[in-house]
């Protein structure tokens, strides 16, 4: 039997035919990047290929890198292997990577969600023979509520805080959740402020032509009384920091899919947990996998053992792979990660 088109080795997902890696976790010559989160886009590769809208954020996070970009649907041929990007709907610039060689098609999902979040281009299913998928929330207890309701909850909570004289802090990762939260805030409630780390990411996105709702970067000059009346978007690492305590009394809200479980919510010790995820929930994962029409599914991170067993019982050829995704950035809880500002 011929070697599989993509294999998992100690550096990442490797395409031997084209001699390149997808989201490698150790330095390689040629890295195709699904999206700019730090567990997928790491430092130290000689050459990067990523979606056009990831360009500025990647350069901001990784410094001087050799980077080529593609649009969705555009194809490059690398050593005879066709590589193209399709929307993954995870964060701005996130892509599923389609790899084709001698008529065989594999798709690497990176991270994805099916709902239209109003910020990034929505997920698009791609037909393939083998689908390499994440399953961060691959258990049937994870079923998202309508995000519109969650955004309404956030605005109501902000309104209440502001009426009762509390500063509002809302945490979400600087690439992804922050834009999604921002775009659905009701500016009539008050002024919107950005923690420096998030403002930096927004500046990078702006250089890529992304227009977001206007919000003010917090600097040492920003009057504290103004901040107290508004809402502050901050990274999870800011939770409970001395900086945040300067604005007491305050209410701290955290947005994550993990907030669906009471245990995780109680561990976090946030005042409010909002169930808002940039990953597919259980029905979403099944729907996405089904839509690829694939013969084989490979699960990279999340509840890989349970979910692959479930898929096998449903008749899929499914198995788990050992990777280093999902460890650092985007769905970890505050305190579990390195400080996000320290890139």
């Amino acid at each position: 039997m011929a070697k599989p088109l993509l294999q998992f080795n100690d550096r990442g997902i490797y395409c031997e035919a084209g001699d390149f890696y997808i989201d490698p976790w150790k330095p390689v010559d040629y890295a195709v990047i699904t999206h700019a989160h730090s567990d997928h886009a790491r430092w130290g590769h000689k050459h990067y290929l990523a979606h056009k809208l990831s360009e500025r954020v990647l350069r901001y996070r990784l410094g001087e890198i050799l980077l080529d970009t593609l649009e969705y649907g555009e194809t490059v041929v690398h050593k005879g292997v066709k590589i193209s990007f399709y929307p993954a709907g995870h964060v701005i610039g996130s892509a599923q990577v389609r790899v084709e060689f001698r008529g065989e098609v594999w798709v690497v999902s990176g991270d994805y969600k099916l709902e239209d979040d109003g910020v990034c281009i929505p997920f698009e299913p791609v037909r393939c023979h083998t689908f390499i998928s994440e399953c961060t929330f691959g258990m049937p207890v994870y079923k998202w509520r309508d995000p519109a309701e969650i955004h309404e909850d956030i605005n109501n909570w902000w309104k209440r805080n502001s009426g009762e004289g509390r500063t509002t802090f809302i945490a979400g990762y600087s690439l992804g959740k922050a834009q999604r939260i921002l775009q659905h805030l009701d500016p009539s409630v008050g002024k919107i402020f950005l923690h420096g780390v998030i403002a930096n990411t927004h500046d990078a996105l702006a250089q890529n032509g992304i227009e977001l709702m206007s919000a003010e970067r917090i600097t040492v000059e920003t009057p504290r009384d103004e901040i107290r009346k508004g809402i502050v978007l901050c990274p999870p690492s800011a939770a409970g920091s001395p900086w945040m305590r300067k604005f007491s009394p305050y209410s701290f809200g955290y947005c994550s899919g993990w907030m669906a479980l009471r245990g995780a919510k109680r561990r976090l010790a946030a005042d409010r947990g909002f169930i808002l995820s940039d990953h597919a929930d259980w029905p979403g994962l099944i729907k996405a996998i089904d839509a690829t029409g694939c013969e084989c599914v490979c699960l990279t991170h999340g509840y890989t053992a349970s979910f692959s067993r479930y898929l096998r019982e449903k008749g899929y050829n499914a198995h788990e792979a050992h990777t280093f995704y999902g460890e650092e950035e985007d769905e970890a809880l505050p305190g579990e990660t390195k400080k996000e500002g320290e890139i």
Partner: protein, 538 residues
């Protein structure tokens, strides 16, 4: 039920005590009296009797959720709470309901009259009209596992602010044997206590530890600094039995344990002396297995408590006495506000007049001139089958609940041993979906033999690190248990050790917990079974 479910999610959405109290007040003011008293009953552990066993509840939930059984079990491991797991797995509700909490509880209490098939129908149709949050609360009531993130103190505080009654008065009133069907909210909040419940115990007075952890051992000088003149203090051994309140009123006797369980039948040896006490007497003390003039090891008591039926054999093997240390009611009068010295003299007088001094024993007052003397004596606590000392201020009243200042426990330092983690399992509640429950082993030759399970002692941050280690270093999976590559060494502390034929290691530990993670030790440096066994008494 909708208000009650809403109360729950509101309470879940804040970490701040004052907000929780104000949410509780709003709830108690807005709902009907019947719902108030049922809510109070649930929050104080008076749950309706379990009418459907959890195996059937699970089975019917699996049918309705349409998933394989194993996936249900794994989901439960992730969520760490059965009621919540079911609420999350069921399909979205088809209808809604507006029955009150009281009405639902009445329905639940009458399920006993239905056949299994009827109960199944009832449960499925109930689930289909409850939304996710309502289902969660409903499942908690149904499975009788109603533990909430609200302490009784908070409820009492809220009710106290509504009624103007003292928290201590309310805490006392909500103790004992009442049922929401026969006790009204109105009665509870009346100026004068209208209860005629002669079984009602007093809230236990509880103590804080004078040294918070074993790392911060206090020497005699520090004790002097913290507590002052030794002459103001009464010292007693801290007995390792079951804290109990023994009541004799109007010819009837009641024995309550600290968990507010009425356990009169569990202690038949205590009945004669209690019946012979004057009517209107309430004693606080320790029920403990005792022979040849000294307490027996705790595991003997544990075996006895675990038995449903007290056979002659068990009674003979684990004879019980009552070591009394306080008197709360005398001649029908509540004397808790009298100073300890006075209460002690009443207790001694009652003891003096008792003809069952073999069973009704006094907790001896340990004389000491200075803190150093007591410090030295404390090191011998284990030989006396005691956990250390209780220190009580001589002029103190008998407090309600855990208060700082008058009563302190001064425990002996734990025994400890360095052990290797070999198995891990996920926790529950706020530790759900994290590997937090570990099994530890020591060396027996070149093999690691498991000897204890421990769940507590690590910080949240350490737990996350261990959790990550477990996930990355699993050798085998047995259901929910993972065999882990032996690499991490921990110092395990425990209060006592006894021989056990039920354990592979041949020993059973009392209250094992993690003292610290020994990053500095390799597994070869962990202790051996010989070292552990050398700690066995005699």
């Amino acid at each position: 039920m909708r208000d009650f479910a809403q109360l729950f999610s509101d309470l879940d959405e804040t970490n701040k005590t004052n907000e929780k109290i104000s949410i509780l007040k709003d709830y108690f003011i807005s709902v009907a009296d019947e719902d108030k008293i049922h809510t109070l009953a649930l929050f104080t552990g008076r749950k309706p009797r379990r009418q459907i066993n959890s195996t059937l509840i699970k089975q019917w939930a699996i049918e309705m959720a349409d998933i394989p059984q194993w996936l249900f079990e794994e989901s439960y491991q992730v969520v760490g709470d059965l009621g919540e797991t079911i609420a999350l797995l069921l399909p979205a509700n088809e209808g809604t309901q507006d029955r009150s909490l009281a009405a639902w509880i009445i329905e639940i209490n009458e399920l006993g009259k239905l056949s299994e098939e009827e109960r199944r129908e009832w449960l499925k149709s109930s689930w289909s009209v409850l939304d996710s949050q309502e289902r969660f609360v409903f499942n908690k009531i149904l499975t009788g596992s109603f533990r909430v993130g609200v302490s009784q103190n908070l409820i009492v505080k809220a009710l106290s602010e509504i009624s103007g009654l003292e928290p201590a008065t309310l805490t006392h009133r909500i103790m004992g044997n009442w049922e929401p069907q026969h006790f009204s909210f109105h009665e509870l909040l009346q100026e004068q206590d209208v209860s005629d419940d002669i079984s009602r115990p007093y809230p236990f007075c509880l103590a804080y530890a004078i040294q918070e952890t074993s790392d911060q051992t206090k020497n005699a000088g520090q004790m002097e600094e913290a507590l002052g003149e030794p002459g103001q203090w009464q010292a007693e051994w801290k007995w390792d039995g079951i804290r109990a309140q023994a009541i004799h009123r109007d010819g009837q006797i009641f024995i309550w344990t600290r968990g507010e369980d009425l356990a009169t039948d569990k202690f038949p040896e205590l009945h004669p002396f209690l019946t012979n006490l004057p009517s209107g007497t309430v004693l606080d003390g320790e029920a403990i297995c005792f022979t040849d003039g000294r307490p027996m090891p705790f595991n003997i008591l544990q075996t006895r408590i675990g038995r449903k039926n007290l056979s002659k054999k068990i009674l003979a093997e684990s004879p019980m006495v009552f070591i009394a240390y306080d008197c709360l009611e005398f001649a029908g009068d509540d004397i808790r506000s009298m100073p300890l010295q006075h209460r002690r003299s009443v207790l001694e007088m009652l003891h003096e007049r008792s003809d069952r001094k073999d069973i009704f024993r006094l907790s001896p007052v340990v004389p000491f001139e200075n803190w150093q003397e007591l410090y030295d004596l404390r090191l011998k606590a284990r030989e006396n089958q005691a956990e250390g000392f209780m220190l009580k201020r001589k002029d103190s009243v008998y407090q309600t609940g855990r208060k700082r200042g008058d009563w302190w426990k001064w425990k002996v330092d734990p025994l400890s041993i360095d052990a290797v983690m070999i198995y891990a399992q996920k926790g529950h509640g706020r530790r759900a979906d994290l590997y937090t429950d570990y099994t530890f082993a020591v060396w027996d030759g070149d093999k690691l033999v498991p000897f204890a399970k421990a769940y507590s002692g690590l910080t949240d941050q350490e737990i996350r690190k261990v959790d990550n280690y477990v996930k990355r270093n699993t050798l085998e999976k047995f259901g929910p248990v993972r065999t882990v590559k032996p690499e991490l060494v921990f110092e395990i502390g425990f209060e006592g050790i006894n021989r056990s034929s039920r354990h592979k290691s041949g020993v059973a530990l009392r209250f094992p917990r993690i003292l610290r993670w020994r990053h500095d030790k390799k597994i070869g440096e962990a202790d051996t079974i010989e070292i552990l066994k050398a700690m066995l008494p005699e």
